[in-house]
């Protein structure tokens, strides 16, 4: 069973649909026990960082997520909340990834919205994925590049398209909305 962590905002249904199209059962939940006993956990999210973090704290899910031992995939805001800090709402993160989240300088259209490719990819999520392939992004904040960055995308500046620290993975793009390429990346996670 895949646990998809329930939030107060955003289109979580899409993630569940994406998982289900790959033949996996999932449950959308904020129940601690259900999350703990899941084979894998997906931490999705579109929305605003500080209110999402407050929601997690109220349910004591912040410490729980950081303590998980099974593979965990943060998507979009999920990845950003797994970092140490976000400029959005001056929000302290889960400190799983050793980087910070900043707002894009407005030297081009913000949000970064649409399909973009990679300047580099590595690691288990990107098995069989080439840097020419495009995935779908929609975000105004980005995670700075660190030693845990596993994929780099260029928009305004190079930023972390994906990160990994042990059993924790994160993608800034939406694999569930990225056509066949996204499905292969999501499948790579589900096969871990």
């Amino acid at each position: 069973m895949i646990a998809i962590i329930k939030y107060n905002a955003g289109n979580i249904r899409s993630v569940q649909n994406g998982v289900s199209r790959l033949g996996h059962k999932s449950v959308i939940t904020d129940d601690k026990n259900e999350i703990l006993k899941a084979d894998k956990v997906i931490f999705p999210g579109v929305g605003e960082a500080s209110s999402a973090m407050n929601y997690l704290k109220e349910r004591e899910l912040d410490h729980l997520i950081a303590s998980l031992k099974q593979p965990v995939l943060g998507i979009c805001l999920g990845l950003q909340l797994m970092c140490s800090y976000s400029e959005e709402g001056n929000t302290g993160g889960l400190k799983i990834f050793d980087t910070v989240v900043r707002m894009f300088p407005q030297t081009d259209k913000v949000p970064h919205m649409g399909w973009n490719n990679f300047s580099s990819v590595k690691g288990d999520l990107f098995n069989g994925i080439s840097i020419e392939e495009d995935v779908y992004y929609v975000h105004s904040y980005y995670a700075e590049i660190s030693s845990q960055t596993t994929a780099v995308c260029n928009y305004i500046l190079p930023f972390s398209a994906a990160m990994q620290n042990g059993n924790f993975f994160g993608t800034q793009f939406h694999p569930e909305k990225s056509a066949e390429t996204g499905a292969r990346i999501l499948n790579n996670f589900l096969q871990l």
């Binding site: 905002a9 649909n17 994406g18 929305g47 913000v110 949000p111 056509a179």
Partner: protein
Amino acid sequence: MLKKRIIPCLDIREGRTVKGINFVNIKDAGDPVELAKSYVRQGADELVFLDITATIENRKALAGLVERIAGEINIPFTAGGGINTLDDVSDLIKAGADKVSINSAAVRNHRLIAEIADQFGSQCVVIAIDTMFVSNVWSVFVDGGRTATSLKTIDWATCAEKMGAGEILLTSMNTDGTKSGFSVEITREVTRILNIPVIASGGAGKMEHFKEVFTETGCSAALAASIFHYGEIDIRELKRYLINEGIAIRS
């Protein structure tokens, strides 16, 4: 590099698309879900579903349709048509729409944009603007283009961005349905002033029109309905053409 998006629009009437011609491998081109899947196979970058009847009963049906679409397609999509309240938006987002497109209701109540952005994030708010060049001014029209307003297009687009819109869908009524090309002038002006992405719409008739709007304006995407629906332009061919012309397109 960020790619320019090609967006087919599906007009929905009582849960069905108007039946097109020249469709191969589709059992039922009047079924929006079948048609959507066909566009995804052709390489569409995003889809827009517009309920053109937009009555209260149809809005409920639209949420049901959105739920089916969300289960079947794996690219982002926008739902719109007759959205008046935060509850309407909530129903569509919960059903699985990535974005909602709002037109007249936002013109009549600017605060609606901020309310949606606060609750669901700016990324899901597409403000659709119907614009027409009359008496030497690009003005905003509402109610499906039937009612003129005193708003200038540039002023309204700027206001919508300030209120928290994530994207503008700009339709030129002067060119819509004419197949004579997008309105380059107003699209260029709006994209120059705004910092959020703009989707150009209205007037696509041939592949060169897409090249023109992508090279002559700062638009992030181009939308068309009938030329895709009636198979006059194949999305695959269009994308090959644009790539050959040196435009950044997802292949």
